[in-house]
């Protein structure tokens, strides 16, 4: 089982117990990338990131270099870092925030310099109490070290960073909802157009929003060059990526692996990685990229971990979370629980998402708990269709943001892959796995 010998980029430091401290960071090459970047022109830094073909790690996979070059020229622009990580079974940003906050800060400072932004905000999920403490501590140290603040390392470039706590709402991970939340409002995603905060963002000013892991890659890219990053992986999916592996595997955990060169099978079964399905049970299905993604089954195990490869197979790498379900898993219960998540987290703006999520959840609950009717399966699919016409991937939508169309995939996958299981629930008036 080939697990490549690509370098660890964002997790290099994590073997040290004190990886979150400034001392350890400096001892392991920390802030060298920043010093190097400050010696380059901002445009040259953008060019390196562009050359790296760094795809955003927040879920949508948009190339960071392209996003940066879309930032509308304006005297007042902002950089906002998305550390709201709440997609179920995704826990990679959590790791980076708690264990290597300086790496994120360095990425932010370099990016701010590249974008010539003087104010940046790091929006961290409110439930990450320790992460918030570590990040604020690191920020205090970075200010003391001269890596942030006025006249950074004597370069003449100045930047202020504010760490902002969220307060518990998944939707605030959606970038426009995050901006609303950062403005002190409820996290209602903004209606599009404009499609990009790079045109109208925080306080109405052009804003780049990037994920925490995206930022964490920047120091390495600047230090080693965009080409070195692009040499890893294949096609558009370059570099390594941090996958959060959860569910019925022997070794659940975060794993940084080379893109494309690694497959789902490697991730789940390699002894140095997932170590295989627990108790050597059969793999029933897996979620390939966060619970918004359509499920895969054993047949897709050999798909490479590449954005376009997974996209072509009808799903997505999304948030980088892989959830493994073995044969003891009830597909109805799993998809009901995912539906319940979206129901609880819908912001409530759009009629189809607000009302549809609750309706679907109630039907799924009924089926799982023995009150299902055969016509419910068609009804489920039709309600899904009214939220996401066609119920295909990539989705169409009747809603403002893509939370709405994220509801149908698990239901549609469960019904199409395990229709019999639904029928058993209905016929027996209860869950056969109980």
């Amino acid at each position: 089982m080939a697990v490549t010998d690509a370098p660890r980029i964002v997790t290099a430091r994590l073997d040290h117990a004190d990886s979150h401290t400034l001392e350890r960071y400096l001892a392991t090459g920390g802030y060298d990338g920043l010093r190097k970047a400050l010696g380059m022109t901002p445009a040259a830094v953008v060019a390196e990131v562009d050359a790296a073909s760094l795809l955003g790690r927040g879920g949508a996979g948009f190339p960071a270099g392209r996003k940066w070059s879309m930032l509308k020229k304006d005297p007042v622009t902002y950089l906002v870092v998305n550390g709201d990580e709440s997609e179920p079974a995704t826990f990679k940003d959590h790791l980076l925030i708690e264990r290597d906050p300086h790496q994120i800060l360095e990425g932010v400072i370099i990016s701010a310099y590249a974008l010539q932004v003087t104010q940046a905000f790091i929006y961290l999920r409110g439930e990450f109490a320790l992460g918030l403490e570590r990040m604020e501590e690191a920020l205090n140290d970075a200010y003391r070290h001269g890596a942030v603040g006025e006249d950074i390392f004597g370069s003449g470039f100045s930047l202020d960073i504010v760490v902002h706590p969220g307060a518990g709402a998944y939707i605030c991970g959606e970038e426009t909802a995050l901006l609303e939340s950062l403005e002190g409002k409820r996290g209602f995603p903004r209606i599009k157009p404009p499609f990009f905060p790079a045109v109208i963002g925080l306080y109405g000013q052009p804003t780049v929003v990037n994920n925490v892991e995206t930022m964490a890659n920047i120091p390495w890219i600047v230090t080693n060059g965009g080409a070195a990053f692009a040499a890893l992986g294949e096609g558009r999916s370059t570099g390594t990526r941090l996958f959060a592996l959860a569910g019925h595997v022997r070794n659940p955990g975060p794993y940084e692996v080379e893109m494309v060169k690694t497959t789902f099978r490697d991730l789940i079964y390699a002894p140095s990685l997932g170590g295989g399905v627990r108790e050597d049970r059969e793999l029933k299905a897996f979620v390939p990229g966060g619970v918004s993604a359509p499920w895969f089954g054993p047949k897709q195990l050999d798909l490479p971990l590449g954005q376009d490869e997974v996209g072509a197979a009808g799903s997505m790498l999304g948030s980088g979370s892989v959830v493994v379900m073995d044969e003891t898993t009830c597909a109805v219960r799993a998809s009901w629980r995912i539906t319940k998540f979206f129901f609880r987290e819908s912001c409530g703006q759009c009629t189809p998402c607000r009302e549809g999520s609750g309706w679907l959840e109630r039907i799924m609950y009924r089926i799982e708990h023995g009150g299902g009717r055969e016509e419910d399966l068609d009804l489920l699919m039709d309600v899904c269709d009214n939220i996401s016409p066609g119920v295909n991937w990539p989705p169409q939508q009747t809603t403002i943001c893509v939370l709405g169309p994220s509801i149908p995939p698990s239901i549609a996958a469960a019904i199409s892959m395990f229709r019999d299981e639904f029928l058993v629930h209905i016929k027996d008036g209860g869950c056969p796995f109980d």
Partner: protein
């Protein structure tokens, strides 16, 4: 507000029109115009819930999804949010669109209680209607619906049923975006998103009724209308609200000769569909149950309106006051110290013989007419003619000592409301616009927020517009002429600090800089001055002097008078002020013309209200001896209680034309019941000179007559035929003889648009091309129309040739007098401040103790308690703590009140609101007993008790 929303007057077929394809046919849109409105003009109605043409779109309900072609093929997009793009293809009727609409409606009904039979909105509910038109046949939802406690009162006037709410954000957007008071907001998340107030702060906005009007379901209901009628029982007429002088357009709805509801109509130049709650709900006063006035008035007891009203409770509990208040419905004459009911002919011949006797003994100048702001234009004209031609007195005054000199108001170059909301610089010198002309506040606030205007405010205390003003100068009574001189002075620096003004000199400098930057040179072009009477305790001559200074220095500026009361502007236009004659002509220049037409006109300038009342008291040869009260009560409305009381006691004859009881009626020898708003047809003229129709919806109660009928028959009694058989006769006569109304035939109002009216003199302001407004903007109007009530006055796009010709009349009026020209006002000398006293300011509150509020049970409890407000430093200096009881004394009288500190009150000033009473004292107008109406400013002393 988006540009799309505020530009309905531009024509779509301009050069930069956007061409796109709509359902396979070519269509055009204005640049940036939203698909939903471009489609609507092209005759394609896209269903909607959250979209409202007067607010920012939010794209939440998703009902308006249509297919729009784009780089990724045709996708579903909200038509309320997407502008029409050149070359794009838009499909509104495909299967995909229909499925999406079906789906959205089904989703909306998932948690909707479907309690239509007990819902006020039943029969006029967009959700109901659209479900029939676009929705699925039957529900596939078999689960338990979500439940909320229902309905909950969120204010005295509004109830909220959260189960019916469809989360369209119309009400919350209105509160935040239009009214600027987000006392309601969404709370919760997802399926539990609900509209909510803060637990301790009710939805006490002056504009709360608008949220009920625009709610697309029955989630928000208004207590006054709740369960009173069904749309199919209702009848409606288009009219104008005359609660204040802004002229908001309304649909007046009734059932069984009782008013049930007023809804705002969307008038582009005036109210944009909005109303204030006083205008919306004071119709209850018109319904006021008839009291047989005999006993109530006959025992010499003044009718103390509203005493013992419960305060601060929800309106349902105060219903019993309606019967205490009631209406005057029968003619009465005095018999000793009793009033007895008589027939109209007895009452009129009694009135005529009393007036004739005074006139014969003391000359026509001994008779004065007070009031007139509540009349129609036609009524005002008839009464002016009766006074000025038949009796021959010029002592007619529609402004009860709270206005400004008519000659000034009628002669300044006039701005329209639109101009006041779009001029580079707006100078505001008045009271609190939100309290006096509430919907104008909405428009000015938006204009300032949207940076369409720079607002410079000169006021006697901070107001609700202060936070939107770029510069706000707080003055003390008497300061405004000096500050006006400083504003227009030629030097960049102000020579001396204007007396007492409590603002920084830099602010004055900033104001001067803004004005200098307004545009086109030093002549004031680009400046609009809004001016009104900022305090009842300051002589109108003070404001007049300040305004005259601005007008002289800025020949290019335009002026909008903020007169407050009902149709007071129409009354002034009809000559109801000393020194003027109908149609904005002066007595001096119009004397010959009107003598010609009327047979006679007054020979000498008459007295205004203050002068007339003083004259009654002072007596002597030529003094005023008889008072005719035209729907006005000096004991309630006149700033100087002592003078008014003495005058009414001393008057030889008092004739009262009244719709509602009031303390002055005690002194009346003859009481003539008059029809009030909604009970008689006619026209009204708002502050910008816009003439609109007043619709008649009710038959007047009892024996009450329209205002003009009373004038006409009384004139007959006096031996003169006014030649009025119908309102239209008066309208024709006005058109013929009143210069500013030349060429204006009320029939135009049908032709141009029932909504917008026309500004006189014709040609002075642009005429809007009226476009049909989205019926969903005000669901209750269209539904009533649809269900059989006579349609509104037709909306005609474009103007007829005759009308256009008439709007630019070639001056056919040979010999007609010129419109009033501005003459120098009499100088006013301001006494220096007295350091032992505070200067009294008395401002208006929207909810006061006027008849419209007191006689409307839903509003009566909303009148705030009275207090004396002073700058905290003054209170501290006098050793008075907030909440202490204090004695306020003036040479006229004294009052005991609670003192409160208010840092918006300048130092050296005491504010006591006008016509708002202390709950512990009889419900009379407390501050009026302190004010000397003849003084330029009023000083008071304040001491702790």
């Amino acid at each position: 507000m988006t540009d799309q929303a505020s530009q309905p007057t531009a024509h779509p077929d301009t050069d930069d029109a956007v061409t796109f394809t709509l359902d396979g046919r070519p269509a055009t849109a204005r640049p940036g115009e939203l698909l939903i409105s471009a489609a609507e003009r092209a005759g394609v109605y896209i269903p909607r819930f959250c979209y409202h043409p007067r607010m920012e779109p939010v794209g939440m309900c998703r009902m308006c999804l249509v297919e729009v072609s784009g780089p990724r093929g045709a996708t579903l997009q909200p038509a309320c949010f997407i502008p029409a793009e050149a070359g794009s293809e838009v499909v509104t009727n495909s299967d995909k669109v229909k499925k999406a609409q079906d789906g959205v409606l089904e989703f909306l009904l998932v948690n909707h209680p479907l309690d239509c039979p007990v819902c006020d909105k039943g029969g006029e509910c967009p959700l109901q209607d659209q479900t029939l038109a676009y929705g699925p046949g039957e529900s596939r939802f078999v689960e338990e619906k979500r439940h909320f406690e229902k309905p909950i009162p969120i204010s005295d006037l509004v109830l909220l049923d959260r189960e019916r709410c469809i989360q369209c954000a119309r009400c919350t957007r209105f509160a935040e975006e239009i009214a600027g008071e987000a006392q309601i907001d969404f709370a919760g998340r997802g399926e539990l998103v609900e509209v909510a107030t803060f637990p301790t702060e009710p939805f006490s906005s002056y504009f709360s009724g608008n949220t009920v009007q625009i709610c697309p379901v029955g989630a928000l209901t208004a207590t006054p209308y709740r369960f009173t009628a069904r749309p199919w029982d209702l009848d409606q007429v288009e009219s104008t609200c005359t609660t204040c002088a802004l002229g908001c357009r309304v649909a007046v709805q009734s059932s069984a000769n009782r008013l049930t509801r007023l809804l705002g109509l969307d008038s582009e130049p005036v109210n944009h569909g909005w109303l204030c709650d006083k205008g919306r709900f004071s119709f209850e006063a018109v319904n006021g149950d008839e009291v047989s006035a005999g006993p109530a008035l006959g025992n010499g007891q003044p009718v103390t309106l509203g005493s013992g009203r419960p305060r601060g409770q929800f309106a349902g509990e105060v219903a019993e006051t309606a019967s205490q208040v009631g209406r005057i419905t029968e003619p009465m004459v005095r018999d000793g110290d009793r009033h007895v009911r008589v027939s109209w002919s007895e009452a009129l011949s009694e009135a005529a013989s009393r007036l004739s006797a005074v006139r014969e003994a003391h000359g026509p100048g001994s008779i004065a007419f007070i009031g007139g702001g509540r009349l129609t234009n036609e009524g005002a004209y008839a009464w002016t003619k009766l006074a000025k031609a038949v009796i021959g007195t010029d002592s007619v005054d529609a402004q009860l000592g709270d206005g400004l000199p008519a000659e000034l108001v009628l002669s300044l170059p006039r701005a329209t409301i639109d101009e006041a909301c779009s001029a580079p610089v707006v100078v505001l010198l008045s009271g609190d616009v939100r309290e006096e002309l509430p919907v104008l506040f909405l428009r000015l606030r938006r204009a300032a927020l949207d940076k369409k205007i720079s607002l410079i405010e000169l006021s006697l205390r901070s107001t609700s517009l202060t936070r939107y003003a770029e510069v706000s100068l707080t003055l003390r009574p008497g300061d405004s002429p000096a500050v006006a001189r400083a504003l227009v002075g030629p030097n960049a620096s102000v020579p001396t600090h204007p007396a007492g003004g409590s603002f920084a000199l830099e602010d004055l400098e900033r104001a001067r800089a803004l004005i200098a930057g307004a545009g086109h040179g030093p002549d004031g072009t680009g400046v609009v001055v809004l001016y009104g009477r900022p305090s009842f305790a300051e002589d109108g001559a003070v404001t007049a002097a300040a305004v005259a200074t601005l007008a002289t220095a800025w020949p290019g500026a335009r002026f909008l008078p903020l007169l407050r009361r009902g149709n007071v502007h129409g009354a002034l236009d009809m000559g109801m002020a000393p020194g003027v004659l109908p149609g904005r002509s002066s007595l001096e220049h119009g004397h010959a013309w009107f003598s010609d037409h009327w047979g006679s006109a007054p020979d000498a300038r008459g007295r205004d209200t203050t002068e007339a009342l003083r004259s009654v008291v002072e007596g002597g040869p030529g003094a005023t001896r008889a008072l005719v009260l035209l729907g006005a009560d000096p004991l309630e409305d006149f700033p100087d209680r002592v003078l008014a009381t003495r005058a009414l006691e001393a008057a030889e004859v008092v004739i009262a034309v009244a719709g509602h009881p009031g303390p002055a009626l005690d002194h009346a020898d003859v009481v003539l019941p008059v029809a009030v708003s909604h009970e008689r047809p006619g026209t009204t003229t708002n502050i910008e000179g816009r003439v609109t129709r007043l619709g008649q919806k009710l038959v007047p109660p009892g024996l009450a007559w329209p205002d003009w009928t009373i004038a006409s028959v009384l004139s007959d009694e006096l031996g003169y035929d006014l030649a009025i058989g119908a309102v239209t006769d008066i309208a024709e006569e006005i058109e013929r003889v009143a210069p500013a109304y030349r060429g204006f035939a009320p029939a135009f109002l049908d032709q141009v648009s029932g909504h917008d009216g026309l500004v006189v003199p014709l040609g002075a302001a642009p005429v809007h091309t009226v476009e049909p407004i989205d019926p969903m903007a005000t669901p209750g109007v269209e539904s009533v129309e649809r269900q059989g009530a006579p349609p509104r006055v037709g909306l005609t796009e474009g103007l007829s040739r005759e009308l256009l010709a008439a709007l630019h009349p070639d001056d056919g009026g040979e010999g007609a007098p010129p419109l009033l020209r501005r003459t120098a006002p009499t100088a006013v000398s301001i006494p220096p401040p007295d350091h032992y006293s505070l200067r009294l300011v008395s401002t208006r509150r929207l909810y006061d103790h006027g008849a419209g509020v007191v006689a409307s049970p839903s509003l009566a409890a909303l009148t705030p308690p009275l207090s004396a407000l002073a700058n905290p430093s003054d209170l501290a200096r006098l050793g008075i703590g907030p909440g202490d009881r204090v004695r306020v004394s003036s040479p006229r009288g004294e009052l005991t009140l609670v003192a409160e500190g208010d840092s918006g009150v300048p130092k050296g000033v005491l504010v006591i609101e006008f016509n708002v009473s202390d709950p512990d004292q009889p419900a009379d107008n407390a501050v009026a007993s302190l004010i000397d109406a003849s003084a330029v400013v009023n000083e008071v002393r304040l001491e702790s008790l």
